[in-house]
Amino acid sequence: MNRLELQNIAVTYDERTILDVDHISFERGKMYGIVGPSGAGKSTLLRVINLLEKPRQGSMGFFGTQVELSSLTHASGLSIQRQMGYVAQKPSMFHASVFDNVALGLRYRKLDRSQIQALVHEALQYVELSHLANQRANTLSGGEAQRIALARALVYEPALLLLDEPTASLDPSNIKIFERVIQMINLKKKTTILMITHNLPQARRLADVCLFLFHGRIVEYSETDTFFSRPACHELQDFVSGRMIC
């Protein structure tokens, strides 16, 4: 009940295997770091979980709800989708105010005005951008936009937060705020977080558990300490030590 599980996931593009996961599970309330070379299938994994991409086969247990991914439609997956938040590497802001951007998910869920008002302000406070509420979102800087994207994804208090290299193009001060927010909601709201990152110290700093993807397969899955100090497979050893060029 209290976990996210994936079974027999297979994603192929033109006969080429992109993702091939037999079984994996994520505990509620934990933070997971996903690392691996480019093209290993990290983004595809998050997109499959977020129902943005349909695998050829596979099923998912979403904190107690079992779904067959290949036969899921937009409408039938909606109740699960609404329990997830997603932040991509490059945020796309709608041509509206910052407030309206953050409120969008709440409006989709048909909350009333006063609730929306309160939740949006709370979320903007988390990311320390309350003063920008009335500004147009497409005028924000990259760092601000990414923090607004985070506020937009956590404002409806999702059970699962999916982050795809969210800080890759941010400066250190924005990275700091971003990390602080996700740690805080991870603790306070017991939000499960899956974060892809190329920044190994970041994974080490934040994640409880790390997994290493290589050619579409999960080749290492362990507690963060073990993951970095005693990597079991040689691919991860090469990757962690920087010998793997990708």
Partner: protein
């Protein structure tokens, strides 16, 4: 310029027929265009080709087809709609709906990649997703509506055929121009043409102001 009541009547009918047609075209074309812009399905390619073809439908052809449908001897003859304002609206809806659909589709497709996933991951239902993308694509959709309005109000072939240019019933600006010209009253025809042009200009100006405001807002 002093207008006789007859002239006002013609202008007013033109505006009524065109506005009604474009509104109906919007109700059909925007959702249809957004759907085509967002979703892929088998047979979509064919539908898209048909829509782009229909964007350039010859008005006279539409007129003939609607005429034959509504004729007393045609399949819908019992409705007694031929030579009425409703008949003109039917013909114009057929003309403007593909334009609005096609340009909405193009506008939505241009926005689709960036915003589709964001809206979906924020929990939009299929309908909410469509509304969100339509809002994002509003600039392109407005120009589609402007194009449709311009085509409808200046169109003459179809409304002449199915409306019949009947005085006090179905005489609109374009058919009045034809009549004035046919009877040798060139200056009357030209002045009516000037009125038509002015209305087109005013309408497009409002559209442009709206679009420019939006562009400004984006740059700020």
């Amino acid at each position: 310029m002093m207008f006789t009541p007859d002239v006002w009547e013609v202008i007013w009918l033109s505006l009524q027929v065109t506005t009604t047609s474009v509104l109906i075209g919007i109700l059909i074309g925007i959702p249809a265009g957004a759907f085509l812009g967002l979703y892929s399905f088998s047979g979509k390619r064919l539908i898209v080709i048909l829509i782009y073809t229909c964007m350039g439908l010859p008005p006279v052809l539409v007129g003939v087809v609607v005429y034959l449908l509504l004729s007393r001897y045609g399949p819908l003859g019992s409705l007694d709609l031929l030579f009425s304002a409703e008949a003109m609206i039917i013909a114009q809806v057929i003309l403007v709906t593909p334009i609005i659909t096609g340009l909405t589709m193009a506008a939505v497709q241009a926005k689709e990649n960036a915003y589709w996933e964001t809206a979906k991951s924020l929990g939009a239902s299929p309908f909410q997703l469509m509304v969100t993308i339509i809002k994002e694509a509003r600039g392109g959709i407005w120009s589609g509506i402007a194009a449709a309005y311009g085509r409808a109000i200046s169109e003459v072939g179809a409304v002449m055929l199915v409306g019949g240019n009947i005085e006090h019933h179905t005489r609109v600006m374009t058919t009045a121009i034809i009549l004035e010209t046919r009877t040798g009253n060139f200056s009357g025809g030209l002045q009516m043409g000037f009125v038509l042009l002015s209305i087109s200009f005013l309408f497009n100006s409002f559209m442009m102001v709206g679009m420019l405001n939006q562009m400004k807002a984006r740059k700020r």
